[in-house]
Symmetry: C2
Subunit: 344 residues, 2 copies
DNA sequence: TTGTATGCGTTATCAT
DNA sequence: ATGATAACGCATACAA
């Protein structure tokens, strides 16, 4: 059996390579009847174009890279990442792109990836996540000229990026707690080098201040987005006797609740707890965690869209997308009995 | 600035393309002096060969795929996976292979991946994880002829695969508990469709039976490798008043310990608990979890080695590697005070 | 609308 | 040891 190439398909369909190519790639300017014939042959033979050849000739690999700057341990224990990758992977499939993962953990890998990926032309573009506000990778990438988008804050101005409305979301949390009559708010933040963590703190502070209930600095504890970290932070915070704690992620919310309970306090009667994300951990607590929902998977979808935009039409300027957040009220702030149907 | 290609490098080094190529690829048959000159030019210019061109001409993409059959949610919350990917990724870097992730979650994706990946020649081979004993993907792959290796049990005979010695590990656990004088053993298993889960149960049972302490079927509960699942399973098991519980993973061990404690029982006095993996969750309990250690990252390393073996020398038959496990004694079976230095 | 011819950047074969 | 040259499989500008 002769190797199955475009040439062979064209032959079987009785057309030229170019026509076959056009038919297969859905370009127009090919008679419907001919197109059918070609596609039939493709169907029957199971032809799939050779990735490398296509890439070489077409100047495009149809591979998108996901550059991950956290340790594998972090990545693979963070439900946020699960949702994000879910979204990215789904969008890639839908757009016929292959997703390639790059773990950027090792010190030497840090400057190897840019050079390799960029020049090698393996990927058409990169989605970069979880950078810190002054991540060198970012300017390395922008210098290199490879198309890329950020999930999270773009340290630099002229970059495409997607992010949830962290300020707004945190403000939702703040106002919800205020409405419940809480006045001694505390918050467990993520690592403040992380812009999302910083903005959630900022949004929370501002919203409180706007209502004349300034946040006591002693009731702010920085943690690391893990349950354990949040637990430890909360233990400290409890000295200040807060009546509400805003955790910058659901996972941390779980830790906060555990600490509160272990201190012999009741949630929400003594301390109301609210998280951020609306991912699975929020449902695993008792009572369930009130939280600020962000559409994590959609973050991934948008990231892919933005990236393809940069890849396909480099001339249109980069843009930043900010996805809305919503409040999801559960038992950790309002006992079930007292709650109307606030969430559809 | 003219495009940086092999041609250009050759020109700058004053040699032919072929020589430049050989020098760069470390092939022999090129004078040391010449090689130096070429490599210098490479160094200075920062030349990196074009992936697609190399792939097209060389019949090899140097991309390895990791096919994941679990939901993203599962994958990104399982510390086992973190370690595995860590190992795989590291080995890929070390061997100059690019790692590409394929999430095989959607129903339609299931038969799309094989066809696409295989024919497209994008990857040289695939590492497949976490299949069930009769996973259709496995025979689809073996039919297709693409080189691949399994992490876990190979349903079929003639496949390369890596796995920890699950039977042996479970036996270690069993004997340890017996030595401690426990006689009413219980176990929380993983999903028994999963071969690793099945073997851990089997190994545990057998080792007990061999010592004349058969496992009471009522003291076996199947869970799903999650903490919550294990918690629920343990609640059931406790009715049978076991004095020791073997959890088929550390993560489940955490759930088991929580359940035991919540039942007002003491670990290890009332119930000894032992896990499997020796991953981070084992250290997060109080007391820390005794466990059967498997070298998760090495699993990944070996998988890559096996795969490259299949890719580069298809003629040598596939082989199965089984990695040894070791017992790591901690407080959940032996109080610190009573413990010698068993772990270095 | 279709076909022809050329180029993509590298490796591999075959001389030299 | 080195160089010329032919693949590799496809896309695309151009011609028809």
């Amino acid at each position: 059996m002769t190797k199955l190439t475009l040439e062979r398909v064209a032959e079987l369909a009785g057309v030229s390579r170019s026509t076959a190519s056009r038919a297969i790639n859905g370009q127009d300017g090919v008679r419907p009847e001919i197109r059918r014939r070609v596609l039939d042959v493709v169907e029957i033979t199971g032809f799939v174009p050779h990735a490398a050849a296509r890439s070489l000739a077409g100047q495009r690999s149809n591979i998108l890279g996901l550059a991950i700057r956290q340790t594998t341990e972090q990545v693979f224990s963070d439900p946020f990442f699960a949702g994000l990758v879910q979204g990215i992977s789904g969008a890639c499939n839908a757009q016929d792109q292959t997703l390639s993962l790059f773990l950027l953990q090792s010190a030497d890998g840090e400057d190897r990836l840019p050079v390799r990926m960029l020049r090698t032309k393996l990927v058409d573009g990169l989605i970069v996540t979880a950078t810190f506000t002054d991540d060198p990778l970012v300017w390395q990438l922008s210098e290199s000229g490879i198309p890329f988008v950020m999930v999270g804050e773009a340290g630099q101005p002229d970059l495409s990026s997607v992010e949830a409305d962290n300020d707004g979301g945190a403000a939702l949390a703040a106002r919800h707690l205020l409405e419940l009559g809480r006045r001694h708010m505390a918050t467990v933040t993520g690592p403040l080098r992380n812009s999302a963590a910083a903005r959630r703190l900022l949004g929370f502070e501002r919203a409180l201040a706007a209502e004349g209930v300034p946040l006591d600095p002693r009731l702010v504890a920085e943690a690391d987005f893990t349950e354990e970290g949040a637990y430890a932070a909360t233990v400290q915070l409890l000295d200040g006797a807060p009546d509400a704690i805003f955790a910058a992620s659901d996972r941390m919310g779980v830790g906060v609740m555990r600490a509160v309970k272990d201190a012999g306090l009741h949630v929400p009667d003594d301390v109301a707890v609210i998280g951020f994300d609306d991912l699975s951990p929020a449902l695993e607590t008792e009572p369930q965690l009130t939280t600020v929902r962000q559409e994590v998977a959609q973050l991934g979808t948008v990231a892919v869209d933005l990236l393809l935009e940069r890849v396909r039409t480099p001339e249109v300027p980069p843009r930043r997308v900010e996805l809305p957040t919503t409040l999801v009220v559960r038992g950790s702030t309002v006992p079930t009995a007292q709650r109307e149907v606030l969430v559809r």
